[in-house]
C-alpha cells in the first residue's frame, strides 16, 4: 500500500471520528463551563476557566440524582434480564419448531417490522393502558415498555445464531437423553454466551438510553436519568451546565462498558454472518 492511499484512509477515519465524537467533546467541555458563560456572546468552544460546580450541584446529597440513577439501574437490569431470557427462548423455539405455512418466517419478519415503527404512535395508548392498570409512575411500567421494545431485537439477533447452531450437537444431546429444556440449558446456552452477552449489552444500552416511553409513563417517582435531563429545561430557562454534567454522567458508564465488551459485541453481532 502506498503512502497516498494510507494517508487518504487515515483522513477519512479522522473525519468520521470527529463527526462521531465532536458532540461529546462539546458536551464534556460544557459540563465544566461556568454558568454565566453559556449565554454571553464571544465565549469560545473552550471554557474560560474550568469549574466542577455543575457536578457538585447534580450530586448534591439533598438532590434526587441518586434516586434517578437507582431507577435507571433497576429498570435497565430488570429489562435486560427479562428481554434476553424471553427473546432467547422465543428465538430458539422459532428456529427449531417446524411451523406450517412458513409461519416462522412471517413471525421473524414481524419482529423486524416492530423494530422500525415510530414509537410515538404507541406512547399515548401505552400511557392509557398503564393508567388502566394503575401502573403509572412505577418501575414496572417502564420495564414492560423497554422489554417490549427490545425483545424483537433480541429475537431477531439470536435467530441467526440459532439457525447456525450445529444440529448434530443437539441430536447428540437428544440421544444422550436430554429433553428440550435440558438441551437448551446444558448445551445451547453455554455455547452461545458470546451472542447472549452481545444481546444483553445492546439491550441494556437501549433501555439505559430510552427516553420517550420512560417520560410518558414515569414522570416522577420512577423517573430515569434521561428523563431527568429533560427536566433541566425549565420555564426559567435551560440549565445548560447541569444538563451537560448529567449527560456526561450518563454517557460515561455506557462508553466504559462498550469499551470493555467491544470484543464480545463484534463477535456476537457477526454471528451468523461469517463462519469462523
Amino acid at each position: 500500500m502506498n503512502l497516498a492511499v494510507r494517508l487518504g484512509r487515515a483522513t477519512l477515519i479522522a473525519i468520521a471520528l470527529v463527526v462521531a465524537l465532536a458532540p461529546f467533546v462539546v458536551l464534556f467541555l460544557n459540563s465544566l463551563r461556568p454558568a454565566d458563560e453559556f449565554l454571553s456572546a464571544g465565549s469560545g468552544l473552550v471554557p474560560s476557566h474550568i469549574t466542577f460546580e455543575h457536578y457538585a450541584e447534580i450530586f448534591d446529597p439533598r438532590g434526587d440524582t441518586f434516586r434517578y440513577l437507582l431507577n435507571s439501574l433497576i429498570i435497565t437490569t430488570t429489562s435486560t434480564i427479562i428481554a434476553v431470557l424471553l427473546g432467547a427462548m422465543a428465538a430458539y423455539a422459532l428456529a427449531r419448531l417446524k411451523l406450517p405455512f412458513r409461519l416462522s418466517i412471517v413471525i421473524g419478519v414481524m419482529f423486524l417490522v416492530i423494530r422500525f415503527y415510530p414509537k410515538i404512535t404507541v406512547a399515548l395508548p401505552y400511557f392509557l393502558l398503564m393508567r388502566q392498570f394503575n401502573l403509572l409512575d412505577t418501575h414496572l411500567a417502564v420495564i414492560i415498555a423497554h422489554v417490549s421494545l427490545t425483545v424483537p431485537f433480541v429475537v431477531w439477533m439470536l435467530l441467526a445464531f440459532f439457525e447456525d447452531f450445529p444440529r448434530e450437537l443437539e441430536q447428540a444431546a437428544i440421544v444422550d437423553g436430554c429433553g428440550p429444556i435440558r438441551r437448551f440449558m446444558l448445551i445451547v446456552v453455554p455455547l452461545m454466551t458470546p451472542a447472549l452477552a452481545a444481546a444483553a449489552v445492546l439491550t441494556a444500552f437501549m433501555s439505559w438510553n430510552e427516553f420517550l416511553m420512560a417520560s410518558t409513563v414515569a414522570p416522577n417517582f420512577a423517573k430515569t436519568l434521561p428523563v431527568r435531563i429533560s427536566g433541566f429545561i425549565t420555564d426559567k430557562g435551560i440549565l445548560w451546565g447541569s444538563m451537560s454534567a448529567m449527560s456526561s454522567v450518563i454517557v460515561i458508564p455506557v462508553a466504559l462498558f462498550a469499551l470493555f465488551t467491544q470484543r464480545y459485541l463484534a463477535r456476537g453481532l457477526t454471528v451468523g454472518a461469517v463462519k469462523g
Binding site: P166, Q171, A172, I174, V175, D176, G177, C178
Partner: protein, 368 residues
Amino acid sequence: MSSVSLSSIEKKYGEVSAVRDLDLEIRDGEFMSLLGPSGCGKTTTLNMIAGLELPTSGTIRIGDRDVTRLTAMHRDIAMVFQSYALYPHMTVERNMGFALMVRGHRPDEIARRVARASEMLSLGDYLGRYPRQLSGGQRQRVALGRALVREPEVFLLDEPLSNLDAVLRVQTRAELSGLFKSLGTTAVYVTHDQAEAMTMSDRIAVFSHGRLQQVGEPLEIYRAPANRFVASFVGSPPMTFLDAVLGEGGEIVSGDLRLSAPVALAGARPGQPIVVGIRPEDVRLADEGLPAIVDVIEHLGSLQVVHLTAAGERIVAQLPEDARLRRGDAVRVRLEPAQLYLFDADAGASIYTPGRNDRSPSHTETSK
C-alpha cells in the same frame, strides 16, 4: 443387546420419498452396514432407528419393543455422529459421562464406566482436555467412548471414519471391527465406502434412491449382486459393463466381441438384450483368447489396473505387477464364462452371477 426390525418403512419429506418400502431385519449382535451413495436413504434410515426422525409409515422394533413413536431419548441406543458432535464446552471426561449424568446415574458409577471406556480406547491421558485440544483421531475415539459408556442395546454409527485421513481410516477400521466383535452388541453402521462395509460387516444392506437393493454377507454382495446397481457400487476398480445380446447357441454378442455364455440360460431367447459385467480381477492374460490393446496402465504396487480395448469395447483388468506391459501393447485376454455377471438390460436384475447360479434369492431382496 437386541435385534432391530424395520417393516414397511416409508419416509417422505413433502412429496419426496427418502425411503420406500423398507423391510430390514438386523439380528441380535450383528454388525450391519447400510451402504450406498449420498442421498440413497441410508442416513435417514439410521436416524429413524435412532428416533431422530419419525417414519411416515411403518413399524420399528428394537428387541421386542415397538419403538416407532418413541423419541430418541427413550430408545436405548447410542450414536456416533459423522461430525462427532462432541460438546465443545465439556472435557473429554464430561463428554463421555454426560449421558449417564443426564440419566441420573450415581457419580461413582459414571466414573467407573468412563474409566473403563477410556481404557479400551486409550484415552486415559486426555480425560481433562477439551475437544478443541484433540486431534481428529482422538476426537473420533471420544465420540466412540461416549457411545460405549452408555452400554446400549444398539450402536448407531453415521460415517464415523469419513473425517479421518486415509492411513488413520484403515487403521481405525480394523480397531473398530475388533472392538465391536469383542462387545458383541448390535451395531448399525452407515457408510458410502464399500471397503469399510466389506471389511467390517457381518452383513451389508445396499441402498439406492431410497430403496433397499440387497442384504447379504459381504462376499455374497460381491459375488452374487442382486442387480446391476449393487454390482457397480461394490468393487474397486469397478466392474466393466458391456451392452450385449444373446446370440444363437449360448453366445453373448457385444459389438464385435463374442463370449460364450456361462450356462444355458433358461428361458432366454436369442436376440434378448442383456448387460455383461466383468470384474477386473477375472480378466486374465493368456496365449489364446481375445485380442486386446493396452490403453492405460495404473500401477498400484502389488497390482496394476490395465484399461484394455478389445473388439471396440473398453475392459478394465486387474493384473499382477509381474505382467510387464506397456501402453499400446497387443495382448490376449481370457474371460472365464463362469465368472461373468449377466443382467437384464431393462430392469437391471441379475440373470447370472458367479456366486449364485440358481435364480431364487434366499434371504436377498431385489428391487421391485
